[in-house]
Symmetry: C2
């Protein structure tokens, strides 16, 4: 195989997770893969960039969740990936069902397809070696192996799955490439077990990047997860999917298939890699100052060490004499955490859930298919929002039964429909939408439109909305 785009080479990017350990930056409605966490573009965009010169854009498939569709569409727009390449799960069911669904879809299009399965939240700055490694893996996949990319452990960590290779089974390819037969998979073993047993060069971290023939994977799925296989094969349309997916049991591909299959091969990655599993992992990949600090914020420090400050707000963050902390600041939630305990953010999320709070679900600035809005203040009987509408986009034709809205245009020009009339409202002009009035807000220009919305009423929640027409299929 030459180092050119092979027409049977496909990518399946897994983009349905939340990445909740990156809270408060990640939220259920704004998952980690969409965030520009490293300051170098969003993680999913960088995942796609790495595939340039490896897989043709038309062969890149992304499996995600319904909820993320519009944001995903926005994020992949520049890469010429067809919208129909976005596969949507009604609910997240862990990796085995998602990969099964995607592989079936791709295998149906091309029976000789070789699929590169990629998480959407990895950090791989070295594109050239990554690509070379993928091509090598594809060659091995042609020999009917399920190929996993192994990472040589940098330290003992309970944050990774481990793979043990069988060094007596070492293969050569074209007299150069070397790969191993896998002896055993271990899904995130305890630190105690790792320290005791997982020593020496037989052990690798599981990167979660896999390369295999779609047909070969489906065979293994049939062998080891026959019920899931049957369910996936029964899906003929979206209605089937919705019906079937409810009954699918979540299971990881590692646990469900890779731990059992006899066909697993491993090649060692020769590119630098981080899975950015938690705030602490991010600390490893970013440039630090002389004291080991990272400041991605409007910050002022006196004498801190090994401390990372990240901000999504515009507040000043002042630090004095800190050591080994992570500070992550957003307008409605702040995290201050011992960096060696950043895995525990997951527990925090559990607490937030059981307290029925909202800070793990949405940001104050919430994305919408037509743009975004930011809640600036909530008071007794009123709510203030800054609403931003993208060029050539419009909100639904809607009405509210419990609130009136005052709009002041502060940037751009709005077309406002209300009570079957339309009106142009320019910057420094305002309009009043009484309670119960059918209305629509539209940006017909090529420039962003910004509106301050002051809502008044006794009930000001998002669910007080009746939609009559919508460009984004949200009538139900």
């Amino acid at each position: 195989m030459k180092k050119s785009v092979n027409k049977h080479l496909y990518a399946l990017i897994l983009a349905g997770g939340v990445g909740s350990r990156f809270w408060p930056f990640s939220r259920e409605l704004e998952p980690k893969q969409f965030l520009n966490i490293t300051g170098q573009g969003s993680l999913i965009q960088n995942t796609i960039r790495r595939l340039d010169k490896v897989v043709a854009p038309s062969n890149i498939y992304i499996i995600s969740r319904n909820t993320y569709f519009y944001e995903l569409k926005k994020q992949i727009k520049k890469f010429n990936i067809p919208e129909s390449n976005i596969l949507l799960e009604p609910q997240a069911k862990n990796t085995a069902p998602a990969i099964g669904l995607g592989s079936k879809f791709i295998a149906k299009l091309d029976k000789d397809a070789i699929v590169i399965v990629l998480p959407s939240d990895h950090y791989v700055p070295d594109y050239d070696n990554f690509r070379a490694c993928i091509f090598k893996a594809a060659q091995i996949a042609c020999l009917n192996f399920l190929v996993t990319i192994g990472i040589r452990p940098k330290r003992q960590s309970s944050g990774y799955g481990y793979i043990k290779v069988d060094r007596t089974k070492l293969f050569k390819l074209e007299n150069r490439n070397i790969f191993y037969k896998v002896e055993k998979f271990f899904e995130k073993p305890s630190l105690e077990k790792i320290k005791k047993h997982f020593k020496g060069t037989d052990y690798f971290w599981n990167s979660g990047i896999f390369v295999w023939k779609a047909s070969e994977f489906m065979d293994e799925l049939k062998a080891y997860l026959p019920d899931l296989y049957k369910k996936i094969m029964s899906i003929r349309n979206n209605n089937d999917l919705v019906r079937v997916w409810k009954r699918v049991t979540p299971i990881s591909v590692d646990y469900g298939i890779l731990e059992h299959s006899k066909k697993i091969a491993l090649i060692a990655a020769n590119f630098s890699w981080a899975d950015l599993g938690s705030w602490d992992a991010l600390n490893e990949v970013l440039a630090k100052d002389v004291n080991g600090n990272v400041f991605q914020a409007d910050s002022l420090d006196l004498g801190s060490k090994e401390t990372c400050v990240f901000s999504r707000g515009n507040r000043l963050i002042a630090t004095i004499g800190l050591e080994g902390l992570v500070i992550a600041d957003t307008p409605d939630a702040l995290l201050v955490c011992d960096r060696h305990k950043s895995q525990e953010v997951r527990k925090l999320i559990d607490d937030l859930k059981s307290l029925r709070r909202k800070e793990h679900i949405r940001h104050l600035c919430e994305k919408r298919p037509w743009g975004s809005y930011t809640v600036l203040q909530v008071g007794e009987g009123f709510k203030i929002k800054l609403v931003e509408i993208d060029p050539k986009k419009r909100l639904s034709l809607q009405s509210h039964s419990k609130r009136a809205e005052h709009w002041v245009v502060v940037h751009g020009c709005a077309k406002v429909t209300y009570s079957n009339k339309t009106k142009t409202v320019k910057s420094n002009q305002s309009i009043y939408i009484p309670k119960g009035t059918k209305h629509r807000l539209e940006n017909i220009t090529n420039l962003p439109l910004k509106i301050v919305e002051v809502q008044t009423g006794n009930y000001l929640e998002e669910d007080d909305i009746k939609r009559f027409e919508d460009d984004f299929d949200r009538l139900l």
Copy 2:
């Protein structure tokens, strides 16, 4: 002297400082003494409460700065202290000039006055023993001593002035009361010096609470700071004050007088006391959980110890595995600080000053004589404020040359004057004030009035204001 209010007993409360080490809660325009830092009322209000049954309200004088006049008036309203008892320095000049000015004022009213000088930012929960101690000090002051209340040191700290007493000069009063002659004052000696020399029961912390005859203090001022004395005596009216005060050299009463005077006596405080000099000091006086934490915030913690979280905002503050930190959160600035380094906040303030930032000067929610306003968002060409006008108060009659204003009333009812017309604007109604229009906003009701103000224009700073009439003397 009986334990009743003595008509010659006066209080002089010093309320001109900023308390900058309590940043980001304290700001130049909202100093520590006005803050409800302990959750038990503002520090200056508690200072006044402690004087109940000691000094008649009409004998309580407060010396502060011009800038703080309206807030001070609001805060002391409930205590029946006459407004004319507020003495205002044009600029803060440290304690000796302030006490001199106040003492001269009081001495003129009552040549037999005994003055209790009190900082406005102390924490003294034990009112009964405080009062008993003050009465005892007043008795000693009658013997022409300058009496200082000494605190037995709780630890070695460079945050306090130290006083050495001469144990060979121990006095009795009415066969019961014991006080010491002071040998020497040391204004905040270094920790090194303290550890080496300041041992044993001869040393006390200087509480900064003094009791003396006004006439006696003026004599000592004349003796040891003759230039300041002459300047103060030359002041006959407010114009004199403004003119003279510019040329007054700042100096502390400790350094300028107490270190030199031969008439100093000390009585040991038998009440619990904290000067709340820094965040760490606050930690000492507040109730803690089993792990030694204080949470005065909407907070969620996993396993932190000896950590204090204070909030003036409404964000969630999540903490994991912290130890010995202070977190102080406000809408525009966050401090995360090793609690043993909380003295260094002062250095931060110096940095903010040299960076010409504003976070040390004002809060986003800024108090005004008529109420307050909060900046919610600043964008290109617009600014959004929530304006709250107290009952029966009104803003100045004003105009802006560079901005228009859209007002939406969200609570209460406004009387709006614009272009020589007046209009009543109720809740859920709005009004537009074009650029250049003379206008006035007024709350004629007995209920609070809240208005969302959307400003539009190319220049949106506070100094774009022309005032034509004002209830608060701000025409210049």
